[in-house]
Subunit: 306 residues, 2 copies
C-alpha cells in the first residue's frame, strides 16, 4: 500500500537579497493533498508557475515573520488567485500586522478580492496549534530573530492500525469489527470468542513530520519543540567563519544548523536562506555534513519526498 | 561623434498575472547615464540582476499607478539597495498613497533605510514636469484607468549647435566665441567682422523622446501629450477580438495601441502588458503592423536603442 503524499518543494533559497538564480524564501508542502505554502518571498507566484504547482489548491499560507523576503510575494499571489477566479476561503497564519499591510495595499489599488481570507494571528510564545484536520496538525514555535518570528511544525496524525484480512477470515471475524480493530481494540469473532487486536492487525507506519526553522539565532532550547522530526529545514545564511556576523544579524551558520539537527535527533536536514555573498554552495554541505551527514541544500525547484 | 545613450530595457511584459516566462511590468531607461526605472512589478530586482543592470545607479523611480503588478517589486528593491550599502538619495514619483504603503511595510519589518527617499506625488491632471536636469526632462500625463494613473514622457533637451572648426579657422574666429555660437548667436571675427551663426555651425541632431503609456483605455486626446515621440510604449493587454473586455477592464488592444502610435506620429511602437491568456504573441504584431508597421513586442531583456 503506498503511503499518502508528504512532499516538500523548495521555491526560493536566498536570504534577503535575491540573486540571478536564487529567489527569496518560499516552500510548498503537500501532505495528503493539503497544500501548505510556507513563507512567500517576492516572486513566489512566478516560482509556483515555473515548477507547475497549482496555486489555487493552496488553502493555507504560513508566514514566519514580516521581513520583506518572507512575505512580499503575498499581495501579488492573492491578486492572481482573485484574477484567476478563486472563490474558496484562504487561511493566512502570520503576525497580526500582515493583515493591516494587505488591507492597505488592496484598498489603495481598489481591489476587492472575490474570496474570503481568514487571518490567524501567530504568537511567538510557546508551541501553539494553528491547524488541525483528520490527518494533519500544524504548530508554531518561537524563533529568535530581530523581530517576532515563528517556526512551523507539520505533523501527520497517527495512522489507524492495519488489518490483516487473512487473519480476519481465519478467525471468522466479521467486517463489522474492522473499525474497532483499526482503533486498537480487540474483536469478537462470530462464535463469541475475543480475539486480541495484536493477532489481527499490524502496526501502522509512524507519522511523519516536518519542521521549518526560518530566520533565527542558534539557541539550544529550540530543539525541544522539534524532537525526532523526520525532516528539518534550518536557515544557514552564513558559513561558520562568519559566525560573528550571523550573531549580529540574528542568523545561523551551516554548522549551527547541523548542530540543531543533531540536538533534535532529526532524520534529514535541508539548509537554505543563503547569503547573496556566496556563489557556489558546496562549502555549506561540507561544513554541515561533518556534524550531521544526512544533509542537503535547498535549491529552487527541488522536491524532497518523505 | 557618437550620440549620448538612449536605451530602453524591458524587464517585464506581462499584465496583472505573470506567467512562467513573462514578468510584471518594469522598464529601465538610460538617457545619458541617468537611469530611470519605470514601474516596478514583483520580481523587478531579480530581473535587474538577470539582465546585469546595476540597480544602485537608479536614482529616479516612476510608478504609473498603484495596481500591484506595477509597484509590488518596489519594497524589496528598496530593501536590497539598503542591504547593499546605498547612501545616495532616491526619488520616487508616484501616487501619494505609495509613501504610506512603503512606510507601513518598513515600520512593521523594523527596517530603517540607510539612504533618504524623496517622494514626489504625481497628479493625473494635465502635463506636469516631474524632473529636469541639463540634458533631460520628464513629464507625467493622464491616462484613463480604473484608478488614478499617469503615463510618463522622457525628453532630451535640445542639444547645442555643432561647431565647424575648419570654418572657424577660415574666418579667423577665436575659441572665445564658441559658447555664443553653440547657443545660436553670431560670432565676431578677430578683425571685427560679424560672421553669421549659420556659416560656422551645423544643426544638432534633434532631441529624442520616449513615451510610456501604462494601463489605459484608448482615448484620442492622449495623443496630444505625446506628439512626434520617437519611441512609444503602449500597453496592449488584448487583441482586437477582445475589445469589449479591454473596455470593461480599462485596457487597450494591439490595434488601439497602433492607432495611438499613428495619431501621435510616433516613429516606433513597442507593445507590452500582455494578458496571461496569450501564449504566443505573433498575433499582436500582425494586428498592430497593419496600422503602424514600425512595431515590436516587449520581451524580457530586450534592449531598444534610439
Amino acid at each position: 500500500m503506498s503511503r499518502q503524499t508528504f512532499d516538500l518543494t523548495i521555491l526560493g533559497s536566498s536570504s534577503a537579497t535575491p540573486t540571478a538564480t536564487r529567489n527569496p524564501t518560499s516552500q510548498l508542502l503537500n501532505i495528503a493533498e493539503r497544500f501548505f505554502l510556507i513563507d512567500c518571498g517576492e516572486a513566489t507566484q512566478i516560482q509556483l508557475r515555473r515548477f507547475k504547482c497549482k496555486f489555487q489548491k493552496i488553502d493555507h499560507i504560513f508566514i514566519s515573520h514580516l521581513h520583506g523576503d518572507h512575505f512580499l510575494g503575498l499581495p501579488g499571489l492573492l491578486a492572481s488567485m482573485h484574477l484567476l477566479g478563486r472563490k474558496q476561503e484562504l487561511c493566512i497564519y502570520a503576525p497580526a500586522a500582515l493583515e493591516e499591510i494587505i488591507s492597505l495595499i488592496n484598498s489603495q489599488s481598489d481591489t476587492m478580492l472575490n474570496y474570503p481570507i481568514r487571518f490567524i494571528h501567530t504568537d511567538d510564545k510557546g508551541l501553539n496549534k494553528l491547524y488541525e484536520d483528520q490527518k494533519v496538525e500544524v504548530f508554531s514555535f518561537p524563533l529568535k530573530h530581530r523581530i517576532k518570528t515563528t517556526g512551523f511544525l507539520f505533523r501527520e496524525k497517527p495512522a489507524m492500525r492495519n488489518i490483516d484480512k487473512f487473519k480476519l477470515e481465519k478467525h471468522h471475524v466479521s467486517l463489522a469489527e474492522i473499525h474497532k480493530l483499526k482503533m486498537g481494540e480487540d474483536a469478537i469473532a462470530d462464535d463469541g470468542r475475543i480475539i486480541p487486536n495484536a493477532e489481527l492487525t499490524t502496526d501502522p507506519l509512524p507519522p511523519r513530520s516536518y519542521a521549518y526553522c526560518s530566520d533565527t539565532l542558534f539557541h539550544e532550547e529550540m530543539a525541544d519543540f522539534i524532537q525526532h522530526v523526520d525532516l528539518l529545514y534550518h536557515e544557514s545564511t552564513f558559513l561558520e567563519d562568519k559566525k560573528d556576523r550571523a550573531k549580529v544579524t540574528f542568523h545561523s551558520t551551516a554548522m549551527q544548523a547541523a548542530t540543531m539537527a543533531r540536538l533534535a535527533h532529526a532524520k534529514q536536514l535541508v539548509l537554505g536562506h543563503f547569503s547573496a555573498r556566496y556563489g557556489e554552495l558546496d562549502d555549506f554541505l561540507t561544513e554541515a555534513s561533518g556534524i550531521f551527514p544526512q544533509v542537503e541544500l535547498a535549491t529552487e525547484g527541488k522536491k524532497i519526498s518523505l
